[in-house]
């Protein structure tokens, strides 16, 4: 797809066309609650914005442990939110390249250059990468989900230059129980570059610039707690009627008028929009408004 995930801007356009307003640079600090009902939000700058409904697209931990005061929530709900597992496990390395890397193992002009590439040739290698993660380290020999999007869409880089996107596993939210340091981040990047260079001679010389995102950066930049890209682990105990927490799997929360619509909710993460769509349907139901205008969705499960 050309423009990559930029297509979400089309969604933004549609929101505006439907009469919505988007404000950027408007970090929410708190959800305003009066008598157990959400009345609006307070922005980081102190501005108060009132609304009939508040729908949080932030993860369940961020929403209920940071934006909502403890006293507004039942103990059992708080306990379950605290127990929600949202440990990050991946990182991202975006690499600007001077020229297209070569992979001698591929025939020249192989369509694989435009494909999703992996170097992981055995399950044992993946498993060992996970052992490092369990021990609180990034994987010394990570597995990469690697693409060169400029082979499909040359407009993403200056003429002749390329961009490589590496999704990397595993990267824990903390290193040996402490926060990531810049040196850790560089070590993590090096494990990625070293692996690519093993399969692509001269790779290091082509690197013009690199952007490294460990769970630390992901949390700081995107606001995902512990850098978990799915806003919560997709294990059985956190799926279906247990997502995000038992008793609140239907986008509602213990606070009246406060809803959840992010990947922390059913069915989970990935760029699919299903949690948002389902949340909208539930909200319309609570408002006793019709949902006929919603286009049909595919069943997820």
């Amino acid at each position: 797809m050309r423009a990559g995930h930029g297509r979400r801007h089309q969604g933004a356009g549609r929101l505006k066309a439907s009469g919505g307003t988007i404000r950027t640079g408007a970090e929410v600090d708190q959800v305003l609650i009066r008598n157990g009902k959400a009345k609006g939000v307070v922005l980081a700058g102190g501005e108060e914005i009132y609304g009939k409904l508040v729908i949080s697209n932030a993860d369940v931990k961020r929403t209920f442990l940071k934006l909502v005061e403890e006293k507004e929530l039942p103990d059992i709900f708080l306990r379950r939110v605290r127990n929600f597992k949202i440990r990050g496990s991946s990182g991202k390395v975006n690499i600007a390249l001077d020229s297209l890397p070569e992979f001698p193992a591929l025939p020249k002009d192989s369509p694989a250059y435009r494909a999703d590439m992996h170097f992981t040739d055995s399950i044992e290698r993946m498993e060992r990468a996970y052992d490092d993660r369990k021990a609180g380290r990034w994987s010394a020999d990570p597995f990469l989900d690697m693409m060169i999007p400029t082979t499909l869409d040359p407009t993403m880089a200056p003429p002749g230059k390329h961009f490589m996107s590496c999704f990397v596993q595993y990267a824990p939210p903390k290193i040996d129980g402490r926060d990531w340091t810049d040196a850790d981040r560089d070590g993590f990047a090096e494990s990625v570059i070293a692996q690519v260079a093993q399969y692509s001679p001269g790779f290091r010389d082509r690197i013009v610039h690199m952007e490294v995102r460990t769970p630390r950066e992901i949390e700081a930049e995107v606001g995902l707690t512990e850098g978990n890209i799915f806003q919560g682990e997709l294990t059985f105990d956190q799926l279906l009627f247990n997502r995000p927490v038992p008793g609140y799997a239907q986008y509602r929360s213990p606070v009246g008028g406060l809803y959840m619509c992010g990947s922390s909710t059913h069915p989970g993460g990935g760029v699919m929009g299903a949690p948002g769509r389902n949340a909208a349907a539930e909200i319309l139901r609570d408002l006793a408004k019709p949902t006929l205008h919603m286009s049909p969705a595919h069943d997820v499960i």
């Binding site: 597992k85 498993e127 052992d131 369990k134 021990a135 294990t235 059985f236 105990d237 009627f241 008793g247």
Partner: protein, 524 residues
């Protein structure tokens, strides 16, 4: 007239404890039952054997924690010499360099050696675990639910489970459903903080399986353990006087009383199949024995692939049987010691308990990692008992027997057990030495059984004491294989009754008992 001319009602293959339970139960219904045991003694993996001159030990299973109450009652095992009293319950001691922690009574009715807050957290968690295991417990004595064409009794059984869930109350039921398939590591992290206690529980959850505490669904292993009961108390454990062989002796006595004909040293070569029906067996000695029903209480894969043969059953079924995972990870160590060892910080009474060397869940996880790659744990985890302290008849006067289950020792060790075994023994002894300094110097004789040894000696493929990994995909209606979980096989007249069938391994007698009751109910 020779036995060949007799038409038996039932022939039971395998004189392990499940085979004996099945045979005794069938015989009590008036059937003429012949039990064929390959070895010279019945008892299978529940035997007490001499491993060094004057030293005897329960060579595979060394603790009794789940002999099913229906088996005890129906076979009147107490009348046949099996007695358990509350005072016999063994404590579980979590060994650690920080000093031990002890679970007393039935799985920690009282916890000592931990902080008051941890004791209170344990009280809550223990109650919760027993409650949840209690919901699952009735499944032990039933055939697994079928997926279609359920009988009224099966429907009623499931209905009772639904009711039991409902009785938990809304919030507790929600937690039950949330944690059911969780890994034990995460659950312990939610509720406890003492690594020693968490290590012991993580060990118990993964004992006998190819799972680490952080592997998905590892909590099920703890539920399985806690669904067992002894003397009416869930989670309790005892060492029978005379070793596990005494339990077998009681079941054997019940079988004798019910007039089961037991023939040791009679390995079966083949199950005779005529027109899709099992009609008897041929022994390795060449003798043909015919029966209305053949009940195999040995390994399901051995039964189908070797005794029946793949040409007698459909390919799909054969494929499923071949796919049963059953490579064991547990080794068994027996030491003949000059004198009782002294475990640091452990008092005299607790030496008679179960000593668990698994100081933290992370330690157990690290021990598990190499087994994924066919390597043994450099710092193994283990469950140690000193059975001769409570039963001096097991060792010469003043000497001591040590019996330990040690993980992880992968069946298919990459380097091979010929060179691996002495290295593994060294790793085990190094661990033992840290908890009981000086123990190494008192070793008079040792026996280390790797899964490969257990396979060869006890005819247990993969050396796996459950005869098939006890994991979610090989439990209930998927045990031993999906579609054939109710002790039946595609061959009419052939039934499975060993640990490879539901509910699984351990000295419970449940698979043998359930199979026999099923056969009696269907009048086979």
């Amino acid at each position: 007239m020779t036995s060949s001319d007799l038409n038996w009602d039932a022939i039971v293959i395998g004189g392990g404890h499940n085979g004996l339970v099945a045979a005794a139960t069938l015989a009590r219904s008036g059937r003429a039952v012949l039990l064929l045991e390959a070895g010279n003694e019945v008892g299978g993996a529940a035997r007490t054997e001499e491993f060094a001159p004057g030293f005897r030990v329960s060579t595979v299973a060394h603790l009794l924690n789940r002999l099913h109450p229906d088996v005890v009652k129906t076979l009147e095992l107490e009348r046949h010499g099996l007695t358990v009293e509350h005072g016999d319950f063994m404590p579980s001691v979590a060994l650690s360099k920080d000093g031990p922690l002890t679970l007393h009574g039935a799985y920690g009715e009282v916890l000592t050696g931990a902080s008051p807050s941890e004791q209170s957290a344990w009280k809550d968690l223990r109650a919760q675990l027993l409650r949840y295991a209690g919901v699952l417990k009735p499944f032990l004595s039933r055939r697994p639910p079928g997926l279609g064409g359920m009988s009224l009794a099966e429907m009623t059984g499931l209905g009772q489970t639904a009711l039991a869930l409902k009785r938990l109350g809304k919030e507790d039921m929600r937690d039950f459903l949330r944690v059911l398939l969780m890994n034990v590591y995460d659950l312990l992290d939610e509720q406890l903080s003492d690594d020693r206690l968490k290590g012991l529980l993580a060990f118990d959850a993964t004992l006998g399986s190819h799972l680490g505490p952080r592997s998905p669904t590892s909590l099920l292993g703890l539920y399985y353990r806690l669904s067992g009961e002894i003397g009416g108390l869930a989670g309790a454990q005892v060492q029978p006087k005379g070793g596990m062989g005494a339990v077998v002796a009681a079941i054997r006595a019940a079988a004798d009383k019910a007039s089961v004909s037991v023939r040791p040293a009679s390995p079966v070569a083949k199950v005779i199949v005529e027109k899709g029906r099992a009609v008897g067996v041929v022994t390795q000695g060449g003798e043909t024995l015919r029966a209305k029903a053949v009940i195999s209480a040995i390994n399901p894969a051995t039964t189908i692939l070797e005794l029946v043969g793949s040409r007698e059953v459909d390919t799909g079924f054969v494929r499923k049987v071949k796919n049963i995972r059953m490579k064991g990870d547990a080794a068994k160590l027996h030491l003949a010691l000059d004198r009782p060892p002294q475990f640091t910080g452990v008092d005299a009474a607790d030496h008679k308990g179960r000593l668990v060397a698994a100081p933290s869940p992370d330690h157990v996880e690290r021990a598990f990692n190499p087994s994924k790659y066919g390597e043994f744990s450099p710092e193994p985890v283990m469950e140690i008992t000193l059975p001769s302290l409570a039963d001096p008849s097991l060792a010469p006067s003043g000497a001591c027997v040590l019996s330990a289950v040690v993980q992880y020792a992968p069946y298919a060790l990459r380097e091979g057990w010929a060179t691996g075994k002495p290295r593994f023994l060294k790793a085990i002894m190094a661990q033992l030495e840290t908890y009981a300094p000086g123990i190494g110097a008192t070793v008079r004789h040792f026996e280390l059984l790797t899964p490969a040894d257990i396979e060869a000696r006890y005819r247990m493929p993969g050396g796996h004491w459950h005869h098939g990994e006890l994991q979610a995909d090989q439990m209930l209606m998927s045990r031993p294989v999906s579609g054939w979980s109710g002790y039946d096989t595609p061959l009419e007249g052939l039934f499975l009754a060993g640990a490879g069938s539901h509910p699984g391994g351990g000295i419970s007698g449940a698979p043998g008992f359930n199979a026999a009751r099923h056969i009696i109910a269907m009048r086979a």
